[in-house]
């Protein structure tokens, strides 16, 4: 085992209690996850969250406003039997409250014409809205596939910037290109590379970077039950190592005063608070910045977990809890590069 993975493993390890084993068996999750939820939320809170995993999350239609107005698309889809509800914090997105048997939301004529992107959940809109708030210029989307956030970023900076969408997995890049062509988005450049080595691809810096890091996906258990038991604590340590490496390399790609949004679809503090704390420990040229706009009531990142005490400034970062916000578990933290 690599020394740094072992070090991470030592720091994030928690010994599951008897009660954690009980919850683990009742809710079909790994014991270390149950222990973690109890430590963060208390027993009652942990049970409330575990129960929320059983509730289906409503998919979201995000209108491609470069092609059609939200009201026109809503009316057109409602004629086909969809019942849509506008998100209070994003004018161009609708929750699907009811859908007809046919056509499915991913096979309507409107979808094929590129009038919308179908998100599994509303949480993924958040980092895009925060990162592009009052911003003009180019953006690097470092782990971009399958393209929900890329296409939204491109729409937000249309006429004002280019989105450089990178990913390592070819099969997923194929989907990304499919969405860009389907939605007729022309201000995207797609690259295929390991984001940790992206300085070899781009001989330049960026004012904004989105790092939606490949993670355990523990916040998406409601749509992917396999994630209840997929990630052992050792595999989690490997992911944490990669997340730290990704964030560290990408901060190097920021302009002075440039901002990176680090986000994951995981509720694990190991993949969030721990990762950003490690970066803040290591680098003196980066600071946490609060969200530039309050779209709804955010939950802050946690202050301590297990034997770890995290940086105070992390309370500026945003957590979405499934049982509080009715979304996937999701996190976003904005970091600004201050000086070289």
């Amino acid at each position: 085992m690599e020394e740094d993975v072992l070090e991470i493993l030592k720091e994030i390890f928690v010994k599951p209690s008897e009660k954690a084993h009980e919850l683990s068996s009742k809710y079909r999750i790994l014991p270390y996850m149950a222990e973690r939820y109890m430590r963060i939320l208390g027993e009652a809170g942990a049970i409330e969250m575990l129960r929320s995993f059983e509730k289906p999350v409503k998919p979201v239609i995000r209108v491609n406003t470069l092609r059609i107005s939200p009201d026109r698309l809503k009316s057109s889809l409602e004629d086909k039997g969809f019942k849509l509800e506008r998100l209070p914090w994003c004018d161009s997105a609708f929750k699907i409250i009811e859908a007809p048997e046919q056509p499915s939301p991913g096979a309507t004529l409107e979808y094929l014409k590129g009038y919308y992107y179908l998100h599994r959940d509303s949480s993924s809109l958040l980092p895009v809205l925060l990162l592009t708030h009052e911003y003009s210029g180019d953006i690097l989307d470092a782990c971009a596939a399958p393209g929900g956030k890329t296409t939204f970023l491109a729409e937000k900076v249309y006429g004002k910037g280019i989105v450089y969408a990178n990913d390592l997995v070819l099969r997923r890049l194929r989907s990304l290109i499919g969405h860009i062509t389907r939605m007729r988005i022309e201000n995207v450049v797609v690259t295929w590379s390991d984001a940790r080595k992206i300085s070899k691809v781009f001989n330049r810096k960026f004012g904004r970077i989105l790092l939606d890091a490949p993670c355990s996906g523990e916040g998406r258990i409601s749509v992917d039950p396999g994630r209840r038991t997929r990630t052992s604590i050792y595999e989690l340590a490997l992911m944490v190592k990669r997340e730290i490496e990704l964030l560290d390399s990408l901060i190097d790609m920021l302009d002075d005063e440039g901002i990176i949004a680090y986000s994951t679809c995981s509720i694990a503090p190991e993949e969030n608070e721990y990762v950003v704390s490690k970066i803040l420990d290591k680098r003196k040229d980066v600071e946490v910045v609060p969200p530039p706009v309050k779209l709804f009531e955010y939950s802050p990142w946690i202050k301590r977990y297990g034997g770890m005490v995290f940086h105070e400034e992390l309370d500026k970062c945003v957590r979405l809890w499934p049982h509080v916000h009715g979304t996937f578990g999701f996190t976003t933290c904005l970091l600004r590069r201050t000086r070289r």
Binding site: G106, A107, L109, L112, K113, I162, L170, R171, L173, R174, S175, I177, G178, H179, I180, T181, R182, R184, E186, V188, V189, V190, T191, W192, S193, K200, V201, F202, N203
Partner: protein, 168 residues
């Protein structure tokens, strides 16, 4: 040809392909392709299916596999324009080499089916070669077909569901 893996290839659009696309747009829609594409043209192929794209951006970083404006496809050994390209042509010119089909036929066409003559609401001549298939509500291009007298139908060459089939 720049082969990034056995599965993916990215390369400058061969002169032969560009000329073939120019000939199609000239013959069917009386349009000069140069008026609608950028300075730099490329193809990105996944296996035997390729997307053709065009850009005016001069800088090209290593590892770029797609950017700019989608101008065509190479699918089932046939080169065809993109729906976006022909819509741009129609935005600047009158409809030509196109058929407007009814709702039901539009839906079936998007499942890969052919269009029977009886489902055609309007014809914009010439319709004896490649035609753009238009849905009735907005008259947007949903794919391409060619007339086959043996079935009195327009054979589906490709339609917008190509995104679901080719690109996942």
């Amino acid at each position: 040809m720049k082969s990034l893996t056995s599965e993916l290839k990215v390369f400058p659009l061969p002169r032969k392909w560009l000329n073939s696309l120019k000939a199609i747009t000239k013959r069917s829609w009386s349009a000069d392709l140069d008026d609608f594409i950028g300075q730099y043209n490329f193809a990105t192929c996944f296996g035997t299916d390729c997307l053709l794209w065009s850009t005016n951006r001069r800088a090209r970083e290593r590892r770029v596999i797609y950017e700019g404006f989608w101008i065509g496809v190479f699918h089932e050994k046939r080169l065809l324009p993109s729906t976006s390209l022909v819509e741009k042509i129609f935005a600047n010119n009158h409809f030509r080499a196109a058929i407007v089909v009814n709702d039901k036929a539009s839906e079936l066409f998007l499942y890969g089916r052919d269009v029977f003559e009886t489902s055609v609401l309007t014809r914009y001549e010439p319709v004896d070669g490649i035609v753009a298939v238009l849905e009735p509500e907005e008259k947007s291009v949903i794919g391409f077909a060619h007339y086959d007298a043996s079935c009195k139908c327009y054979r589906n060459l490709y339609d917008l569901s190509i995104f679901l089939r080719l690109l996942g």
